[in-house]
């Protein structure tokens, strides 16, 4: 799966799918970081509205992307987490730290543009 990265008003928008393998995760990370460098965007929006669960693998991928982007000077927002994903993630014991969370793509986008 090649994940498309959309650039809109200095924000990179990535829609993450459900079934990311280790290899795809590595590619996504690289693609995003290269794109941050190429475009100079300071905001990254990860939309996870179609993601149907976050297990420890996926939680780690999200945390790593956010941390790597931050090291490059780019802020990350995550949008669209569903109730069942939020509940099970916390019950499993996972955390998403240092990431802004937003209900919708629009709100995540607005936050990234205004900070």
């Amino acid at each position: 799966m090649q994940v498309p990265i959309l650039k809109m008003n200095d924000v990179l928008i990535v829609t993450l799918g459900n079934e990311i393998t280790d290899e795809e995760a590595i590619r996504i990370k690289q693609d995003i970081l290269v794109k941050i460098q190429d475009t100079g965007c300071e905001g990254l929006l990860l939309d996870i509205s179609v993601v149907d669960l976050i297990d420890s693998f996926m939680g780690r991928v999200l945390n790593e992307i956010a941390e790597m982007a931050r090291l490059m000077g780019c802020r990350t927002a995550i949008s669209g987490m569903s109730p069942q994903v939020a509940i099970t993630m916390i019950e499993l014991g996972l955390k998403l730290e240092g990431v802004y969370t937003a209900l919708t793509v629009e709100r995540g986008f607005d936050w990234l543009r205004n900070t």
Binding site: D52, L53, I54, D55, S56, Q84, T88, E91, L92, L94
Partner: protein, 136 residues
């Protein structure tokens, strides 16, 4: 209803968790419970690949003596087994620089969680979720 999925790589783990979710839905579990079951299968199947190379996942419908409907998953491998189970079950413990949440987290997510393991004789983990849990 019963299904067996051979697990050799992560794609198999993704298939197994999807099958677990499908069966849970057919049995009438809520979306949150479907997700609890799918995430548990994902954690245990990934552990299997990581620590035991391969194995299998069995998913089946069960009933207790009172006729209560449940879903049972058995995750079975012939890997090295777990020497210190108490340690492995504690939050944050990992022999692979993992998060160490897989086993204790899965226990929190499910109603029943049973491990049979010994060094050298593989690991069998059985988890269950009841449609109407008597204890939650």
């Amino acid at each position: 209803m019963q299904e067996t999925i051979q697990i050799h790589n992560e794609t198999d783990a993704i298939v197994a968790r999807q099958r677990g979710r499908d069966m849970a839905r057919r049995l009438g579990f809520s979306v949150v419970d479907q997700t609890r079951i799918a995430i548990s299968i994902s954690e245990l199947a990934r552990n299997m690949i990581l620590y035991a190379d391969h194995g299998e996942v069995l998913i089946c419908e069960i009933r207790d003596p009172q006729g209560e409907v449940g879903l049972e998953v058995q995750v079975v491998d012939n890997g090295p087994g777990i020497a210190d189970l108490e340690q492995a079950m504690s939050d944050g413990f990992s022999t692979s620089n993992g998060l160490g949440m897989g086993l204790p987290g899965t226990k929190r997510l499910m109603d029943d969680f049973v491990v049979e393991t010994a060094p050298g004789s593989g690991t069998k983990i059985t988890i269950r979720k009841w449609l109407h849990a008597r204890y939650m």
